[in-house]
């Protein structure tokens, strides 16, 4: 069971109260982008074994979207943070780095 703390209402929400929204921090390539950029934006997703950044929605709760960083292998949750950002908070990245020294942010 996955438990994520919603950064908006502070509820420790269990997985079934949430809706998964896929990979986080995608750049939206649209008009004016190259075919390759559009292809990667539309179809190509990371599928790492290990640290992953995802979007989640607290659908049976406050209804807000937020971000979560977790390990896809152990289900360890590193943290959740606001949706109003383009990249994970520095503090979160360094705490992940401390726990997973081999991990490289890409």
């Amino acid at each position: 069971m996955l438990i994520l703390e919603c950064p908006y209402c502070g509820v420790k929400a269990e997985e079934t109260e949430l809706h998964a929204g896929g990979e986080a921090h995608l750049t939206r390539h649209a008009t004016g982008s190259t075919d390759d950029e559009l292809k990667f934006y539309l179809f190509q997703r990371k599928n790492p074994k290990g640290v992953h950044f995802e979007r989640w929605r607290h659908v049976n709760g406050c209804g807000k979207w937020f971000h979560a960083a977790r390990c896809t292998m152990t289900l360890e949750v590193f943290g959740t943070y606001s949706a109003q950002t383009f990249e994970p908070p520095k503090a979160l990245l360094s705490s992940i780095k401390a726990k997973r020294p081999d991990w490289q942010a890409t």
Binding site: C9, V11, T16, N60, G63
Partner: protein, 186 residues
């Protein structure tokens, strides 16, 4: 004038916890920036309570305000006052970026009363009912539908759900509260 009735017209079920549909309840949804002083003032004028903090519900007799999300409140009042309160609130907020909607007839309200009330909710919602404090409102789901609930008294829980699923929620609660289903978890 049409005869306004609640979804299940006060139906009840007697189990080891009593399930009761509460009849008509006035409810408004208010959306806007909850940190604005103007909003807090308008809420106070409309329902007579302070702006609730995160996940809190402030009740004063038959009126109150509940925190639903960072930009949403649920205002509670007697059903007959809902339309007038909505108009008053809309006027008070004026051009402030906000929305007031009368959702009274879109909802259904139940109460659970009895020693096992927390346990009945715990059977249906993924919520740590031991940790739920008085004065706190929790939005979650009950089986497959959204619901919100709070502790409204000693061994009493009030539940708000959508009217369209009123029968479903009642059946769920009645089944979870049926005699012989005691878990004695709390």
């Amino acid at each position: 004038m049409s005869n306004v009735v609640s979804a299940l017209q006060g139906v009840s079920a007697d189990g080891y916890v009593e399930v009761q549909e509460m009849g008509l309840q006035g409810m408004l949804t208010l959306r806007g920036d909850l940190s604005m002083a103007k909003l807090a003032k308008a809420v106070k004028a409309a329902v007579g309570v302070e702006m609730p903090k995160q996940r809190k519900i402030n009740l004063n007799g038959q009126t109150g305000a509940a925190w639903m999300s960072p930009d949403e409140l649920l205002l509670i009042m007697p059903h007959a006052q809902a339309t007038a309160t909505a108009a008053k609130l809309t006027k008070a907020l004026g051009k402030t970026h906000s929305l007031v909607a009368n959702v009274s007839d879109a909802r259904v309200v139940f109460t659970l009363s009895g020693k096992g009330a927390r346990e009945v909710v715990a059977k249906l919602a993924p919520v740590d009912m031991q940790a739920l404090k008085k004065g706190e409102i929790r939005r979650s789901r009950m089986a497959q539908v959204p619901a919100a609930f709070w502790l409204s008294g000693k061994d009493e829980i009030t539940i708000v759900a959508f009217r369209s699923v009123a029968t479903y929620v009642f059946d769920l609660l009645a089944n979870a509260a049926a005699p012989g289903g005691e878990v004695d978890a709390y």
